[in-house]
């Protein structure tokens, strides 16, 4: 365990400093090769780009499900261990073009979490969307954990208080933030 942790760090420290020569340069080079991303340089992908709701009748359908389940994923092999989490927050306090639709009408629910090779994760309880980041899933990253996938469901609480607006529809930007050790 210590060898795997130590050698990548040594490789970084000794770049351009030939005074310190690692005892096993071949192993050092191999570890560097499988270290595809530096800490903090990974990318979170969320699909689909847009989740849509069609609110037609608050009496017969007071809660409207989104048209798709969203999937957030990222790859990051940094050989660090420790807690990770994914947060979701709204970019504004109400839907654009529909100021009567509050963002708190949207409930975010985590459906599943997967983390590869020794990593763990679990869903947080569902919550109403806000402009503050809220943890939707979290867990622990193991030494070789490199891939995470979280699926999310969105529902909208329909209300007679909303002003009807179908075209252009109301939109809201969501920001996802993945934090890894």
């Amino acid at each position: 365990m210590n060898v795997w942790l130590t050698i990548p760090a040594l490789w970084a420290i000794t770049a351009g400093q030939p005074v310190i020569k690692p005892a096993a340069p071949k192993l050092t080079r191999n570890v560097a090769t499988v270290h595809p991303m530096a800490n903090g340089s990974f990318t979170v992908s969320v699909s689909p780009a847009t989740v849509s709701f069609t609110a037609t009748n608050p009496n017969s359908a007071p809660v409207v499900a989104g048209n798709a389940t969203a999937t957030a994923s990222w790859n990051n092999l940094d050989f660090n261990t420790g807690p990770w989490n994914l947060t979701v927050q709204a970019g504004a306090g109400s839907f654009g073009n529909c100021p009567t639709v509050p963002i708190s009408a949207v409930t975010v629910s985590c459906a599943s979490v997967s983390a590869t090779i020794g990593g763990s994760g679990s869903c947080a309880a569902g919550f109403k969307l806000s402009t503050s980041p809220q943890i939707v899933a979290s867990g622990n990253q193991a030494l070789l954990t490199y891939s995470y996938t979280i699926t999310l469901n969105f529902t909208l609480a329909d209300s007679w208080k909303y002003i009807a607006e179908s075209s252009p529809s109301c939109s809201l930007s969501l920001a996802y933030t993945a934090t890894v050790p």
């Binding site: 007679w160 208080k161 809201l172 920001a175 996802y176 993945a178 050790p181």
Partner: protein, 177 residues
Amino acid sequence: MRRYATIIAAACLMLALAGMGQAQSTTTLSVAVGPEASLTVTTGTTTLASGSTTFSNPFTGTTSLTYKIRTTKVGGTGTLSLKITADFSGTGGPSVTTPPTSGDALTYTCTVSSPGTACTGTVTASTSSATSVATFGAAANSTSAGNSASTAWSLTDDPVYATGTYTATATYTISAT
């Protein structure tokens, strides 16, 4: 040995300096809120009664409603109307379609809470066409619990009516665009 100590110390330093990594992404939630309306008649049966025994007062009664509505932000409208879909039953009594005496009529006035605009004045109910109770403009919305409306009925007390109980049906319709 000293070299290993240096290496381990450097590694520990690197581990200590390693911070949390973060990455962000954004997506969009899209909502299409459609125009919609619903109506509940809270007074299922409205009894029309006259407090007079001298034909000086009409038969009166009030039907209460709860409406819910949301209209489109630009160009939306809404209407609440009623139609007598079944005239007074029996013979010798009042009639909306063919009053026994000219001037006999079933009329009503409207009370509608905002955002509705109540009908104006006294309206004569009809079996052939719907008549207005309320109208709504663009960007109108009720509360989640619904808003109140009512029609206050008035039926001429005509001596020619045969005694008895007569029943008619008024059908209310609400719509939104």
